[in-house]
Amino acid sequence: MQMNEYKPLIVAFCCNWCSYAGADLAGNNRLNYPADVKIIRVPCSCRVNPMFILRAFQRGADGVIICGCHPGDCHYTSGNYYTRRRMAMLFSMLDYLGIEKERTRVEWVSAAEGAKFAATMNDFAEKVAALGENKRLEDLRCKR
């Protein structure tokens, strides 16, 4: 691989019923977004354990985004409401530890919002790229 250009690594967790379908729709409509975004399919955004996010960061991800159905539209009625609380708390904690808040995001993307999916990923990738490589979480316990 060439080393000339920094490319962020972004993990996107998408719920099967809305956001993953939204990502598929973005594909159907040939809407471009950076290949840095890699999607992991989960049944519901509430399946995303904060540990998965920490794991991604520790393994070198530069940004993590969770996409779920819009509040009120969850396939399982209430899953995304729990996601909303869990992620609010986790992201606030990461921010408190000094991890740049632009590296984490929750976005509600419906199965019809292919355009929103692509736009969200473009925007997120751009913001993460601007921050550069994620070193902080990796170095949290190593004083230099």
Binding site: L9, V11, N16, Y20, A21, A23, D24, L25, A26, G27, N28, R30, L31, N32, Y33, A35, K38, I39, I40, R41, V42, P43, C44, C46, R47, V48, N49, P50, M51, F52, R55, A56, R59, G60, A61, H75, Y76, T77, S78, G79, Y82, R86, A118
Partner: protein
């Protein structure tokens, strides 16, 4: 160690156009567990599927990764392929390299690089896949319908029509519900009794349907296909199977001053009573709060006049336990109390009535035998004011009333106004409204007829105050279109009271672990796509318990609920989704966190004995997931502090492996 086969699809040029499929299949060949890797033009074609089947046999594959289009497209296809090859269908994972790769990226190096990473993630996941078998549970082929109004009646009839036994539980002494109290029905103006009572008779005569009237559900256990329900049959002090409904007891009963609920207290009934002439079952009931014999042992007249010998003062409440495969909630609605609406003087004047009371006043079987007479003095009213939206569409923060639109009031008020003008052309009729909402077949035409043909005065604006003065009701109102204040001397004021779910719905929802909204209406499994199902499997919704509805809508929803029930009962066994939660009992703390986030009530607790290393036994509380109820959302897996709860098909370890593969 798995023996994984990787199959990269070109999808013609859809994938191959931006992904070097050969490079992908070559790169994945070296991943742990992969023993075979290839690519082909159309993996989903018969030839492609055959290629997979042959490879499974030739290389003894235990797992399959297909790099192709979205799993939403062909996951089911490739699972069937795996099954045909003798593999467990859940040993297949799809890497989505079309919708989420080749179609969104432009150049081949980028697309290829990403496709390889997505393929690696899928391989990492399959390495941890385990064969899954959907659970099976038997189905009790009997349905329970809670509520015997038009919604419950229609649901029961439709289910019985398909050949399944149905029980109706109705808390009143007769089925019929609110519709039995109505006079005529919009927009066709056919009389409610003429269309409802034949259905009630059908219910009574249908040998598939049992009616538990004057009864309520007191306990529900179990899950879809296997509910154990306790029904409390309240003592009516009359032997139901012997009573002929002749009415001799009712006639002779000396206690005749009991407010008649059926006529909303506008006249009286006796202590032993039959709610109305067409009641089903047509059986007398003794009101224990009014009967002298039951209160102090003096009287006993009804027992003496009963030729059949049906009276039994010693009757006790009876508890019946029955098994059901499906439960339909049809608990209906009530008009809200007018106690908080002092401005309309409902409690000060007998001549301020609700619309349901108006129905009884104009009903030929009502307290006035259908003559429109003022409750206070029995005179014919010459000026009638109808007030719309009393308690509907209120501010969210208002202490009284409801935020929602009650939906049926615009139409029944138009009906009332039209019927009044039709019978008594000398009457002035005013209707005060915020908006007139008439979406429905022939609804707007109906309303316009009231205005244009029957000369009803529709005034946009709200009534501010009603003051009883002499034998008149002084109505102060504003006309928003003319921008002026109106003062009307009315003889009768009719309030279109908002409707709310029946009070029995909330405790019932708790028993059923069915969810409700803040207004106590039952919520649907999906507001658009599963409108007659509750999120709790096996529980269905019919009629106004789910939201305000008119009769046509209620009947169609009742039929829809029935068809869902029939679909369920027609199955001998329920096959579950195997991708569900499961708890490791050795790790479970029994802390209840998972139960609290489960939207389906799928998690229960049991005390389990564990043999300890020191040969003692320890009883610990552990979570148990009911595989027939769990839908596999995974909320519990994150709520679980000890990691005991995991999800088949999307296990924590599998997702972690995907993360690792992507982040390498």
């Amino acid at each position: 160690m798995q023996r994984i086969g990787v199959f990269v699809c070109w999808c013609g040029s859809n994938i191959a156009g931006t992904v070097d499929v050969q490079a992908v299949s070559d790169a994945l060949k070296n991943e742990p567990g992969v023993v075979f890797s290839t690519n082909y033009q159309y993996m989903c074609s018969q030839a492609g599927q055959d290629m997979i089947i042959n490879a499974v046999k030739e290389h003894n594959l235990t797992g399959i990764v297909v790099c192709s289009c979205s799993p939403r497209m062909h996951e089911a296809t490739f699972r069937r392929t795996a099954q045909a090859a003798g593999l467990n269908p859940y040993m297949v994972e799809i890497a989505n390299i079309r919708e989420q790769c080749s179609w969104v990226h432009k150049d081949i190096p980028t697309g290829t690089e990403k496709a390889i990473i997505l393929g690696k993630a899928a391989v990492a996941k399959v390495n941890l896949n385990t064969p899954l078998t959907p659970g099976e549970s038997p189905v009790t082929k009997r349905a329970l319908v809670i509520g015997g109004g038009i919604a419950g009646i229609q649901t029961a009839l439709d289910i019985a029509d398909a050949g399944f036994p149905v029980d109706i539980v109705e808390k009143k002494p007769t089925i019929g519900g609110k519709m039995a109290q109505l006079d005529k029905t919009f927009p066709t103006l056919d009389c409610a009794a003429c269309i409802l009572t034949p259905k009630m008779v059908d219910v009574a005569q249908n040998d598939k349907i049992r009616i538990f009237s004057y009864s309520e559900v007191t306990d529900v256990k179990g899950f879809v296909g296997n509910f154990d329900v306790t029904i409390k049959k309240n003592a009516r002090y009359v032997k139901e199977d012997i009573c002929t409904g002749c009415g001799a007891c009712v006639e002779k009963c000396p206690m005749k001053k009991v407010p008649n609920e059926f006529n909303l207290g506008m006249d009286n009934r006796s202590a032993i009573y039959i709610p109305f002439a067409q009641a089903v079952p047509k059986v007398a009931t003794i009101d224990p709060n009014a009967c002298n014999m039951l209160k102090n042992g003096k009287c006993g007249l009804c027992a003496r006049v009963c030729a059949a010998g049906a009276i039994d003062y010693t009757q006790k409440d009876e508890y019946i336990e029955e098994k059901y495969g499906a439960i339909v909630v049809a608990t209906g609605f009530n008009p809200i109390s007018m106690d908080k609406f002092d401005e309309f003087a409902y409690n000060q004047s007998k001549d301020v009535i609700t619309s349901l009371e108006f129905e009884r006043l104009t009903n030929a079987a009502g307290p006035t035998a259908g003559k429109l007479l003022r409750p206070s003095d029995g005179k014919h009213p010459h000026t009638i004011v109808f007030v719309q939206c009393v308690g509907s569409r209120c501010d969210a923060c208002a202490e009284k009333g409801k935020e929602y639109c009650s939906k049926i009031c615009c139409m029944y008020t138009a009906k009332h106004a039209m019927l009044t003008r039709d019978k008594y052309p000398d009457t002035d009729v005013y209707v005060f409204y915020i908006d007139v909402r008439t979406p429905g077949k022939n609804f707007d035409e109906f309303y316009r007829r009231a205005v244009e043909e029957y000369g009803v005065h529709y005034v946009k604006g709200m009534v501010g105050k009603v003051v009883p003065e002499g034998d008149k009701l002084k109505v102060q109102a504003s006309d928003l279109l003319e921008n002026k204040q109106l003062h009307i001397d009315a003889d009768l004021v009719v309030l279109a009271a908002a409707i709310e779910p029946d009070k029995s719905a909330r405790p019932l929802a708790t028993m059923l672990t069915a969810s409700m909204d803040t207004n106590d209406f039952f919520t649907e499994a999906h507001p658009k796509l599963r409108p007659v199902e509750s999120p709790t499997a096996g529980v269905f919704l019919s009629g106004a318990c789910q939201g305000p509805k008119d009769i046509p809508e209620t009947v169609s929803q009742a039929g829809a609920a029935a068809s869902k029930v029939i679909g369920l009962l027609a199955k001998d066994k329920l096959t579950g989704n195997p991708c569900i939660a499961h708890s490791n009992e050795l790790m479970c703390n029994g802390c209840s966190s998972c139960e609290r986030v489960c939207p389906y009530g799928a998690i229960t607790y049991e005390d389990k004995e564990f043999r300890m290393p020191d040969r003692t036994t320890l009883v610990r509380r552990i979570a148990v997931v009911n595989p027939a109820v769990c839908q596999g959302c995974g909320a519990c897996t994150v709520a679980c502090p000890s990691g005991a709860m995991d999800l088949h098909g999307f296990a924590s370890g599998q997702i972690m492996a995907e993360v690792d593969a992507i982040c390498k």
